[in-house]
Amino acid sequence: MYRGKNISELKKQLENNEVTKEELFASANKLAHYFQDDYNSFVTILDEYKVKDRDSLLSGIPYALKDNFSTANILTTASSNILKDYVPVYDATVYKKLKKAGALLVGKTVLDELAMGGTGTTANTGVVRNPWDKNRMIGGSSAGSASCVALGIVPFSIGSDTGDSVRKPAAFGGVVGFKPTYGRISRYGLFSFASSLDHVGIFTRNVKDASIVTDVLKGYDPKDMVTLKDDNKKYTDTLDNDIKGKKLFYIKEICNSELYKDSNDHELLEVLDKFHKMLDKCRNLGYVIEEVSIDKNLLAAIYPAYMCISCAEATSNNANLTGIQFGPRGEGNNISEIMFDARTKGFSEFIKRRFILGSYVLQKENQDKLFLNACRARRMIVDKINELFNEYDGMILPASGGIAPTFDSSSEKLTDRYLLLENHLAIANFGGFPSITIPYDFVDSMPIALNITSPIMQDDLLLNMAYKIESVTDCCDIYAKVGDIDV
């Protein structure tokens, strides 16, 4: 049987000649097609592969790649009409490394258009549905990459994370979502959204698999000038290190249950109750976990600062989408009219609204009050967290204040729950901190997750701490056992 198996299990099957890589690929391909109509994980499902056996833990292992990573000769759309026919001529470094490792690409996954969004509902090929409940979102922007791992189609997939686009859908999908330190993995060939915040991220069903994939992907790349020199560590080697005495903090203003005691939001109350019970389990493991307080004004600024910075950078990064170099060419009598037509037809309303916001905050009259204040708030938040990291090994928080939302739900965007509990994951993008989301329990039959974030460069320690925490959950290697298919 293939479905739901993790990387180590599949590798063992391959080594024992219980299965061939052709059979693994065929199983993944069959599952991908079977679930496509109901869940819409993929933009493109590949029906053949062309890699050779390699000496790597990922050799022969099927995986999926978000459709904003460039893949030569394979359609790469970023789920946008402005790139709907675009077939790149070059490979992203991540794809190149996975090919070199012998991993088998099963498909390119659906994302919120141009990776701007957190719902999985804005792709030009339709909404992505949550494998645990089809009436709910999986979240985004790496929606398809999360859902195909949560469905058990592939043991790992690749996404990108600018605000929480790997770690939030991982939480809603009951899978592990990890983004290493900014610069740890090359972004060459990843379509830029907001360059100062963009990270490559990884979805798996357990922490060890996340370490295995990171070990393959990390390292300096001359084609991405912000990549770090390799730390020459093998993260899988230190997963089992002793964590007794490691210190974690959670932020009172985000998740102290007392703050919400008058709320009648049963989901929120249950999430917080289970989170604090989980902290006790962590304490029993040997962690020292303490509550810290941070100025609420600063925390409430995370989301607006993120919106200002990301939308401003996005307007600039996407200025190359003119219909001239890429995508369908517009109509008109001169170059301006042609570009205007291509962009009017190519971008969805949602994307246009984000671009206008980005342009607004950059206008001379708004720049200091909005864009530069956002960059100042970013520094203050990062400085505060770094100050705490002088004393602590990591920050632990609920990944969300609830379970995956239904498609017809709407959130009140000025509440503490929205501004603090639903958007704090962007802290790790602001500071480039390594950050991981792991599932640990269920509320109303839907998975819930916690997030741990560590100081920059301490990816190995973060994975080590997450691995130990995962061991006291019942959520290692879970997937949504839906569908009537025996593969």
């Binding site: 100025d295 004004n297 607006p304 003119t322 170059i335 100042r376 480039g432």
Partner: protein, 99 residues
């Protein structure tokens, strides 16, 4: 509420347009977003802080040497466009006759 004409101006600077009803949605969205953005100004002493544009100081980041790398063949370039004249890509006229 932010004026529609202002939003239309920003859209045109970004080289696209939207439908009338879409501007209305955007006006309503701006109402909420601007309230959220007001939160930035409420942070004490924010004006004394240097804006942050990069996650951390990366001493490893250096400009690479100029070296000949991979490049595309004419055939590969032409495969990527349906607008061709001979072995060239046909692009719209860029320089206006009046210029």
């Amino acid at each position: 509420m932010i004026e529609k004409d202002k939003l239309k101006k920003y859209a045109r600077l970004l080289m696209f347009d939207m439908k009338d009803e879409e501007y209305k949605t955007l006006q309503e969205e701006f109402d909420v977003i601007l309230k959220q953005m007001d939160l930035l100004g409420k942070i004490p002493d924010i004006d004394k802080v240097k804006p942050m544009t990069f996650p951390y100081k990366n001493m490893d980041a250096t400009l690479r040497d100029d070296e000949v790398g991979d490049y595309l063949t004419v055939g590969e370039v032409l495969e990527n466009t349906k607008y061709q004249v001979g072995d060239q890509v046909k692009v719209p006229k860029v320089v206006d006759e009046d210029v």
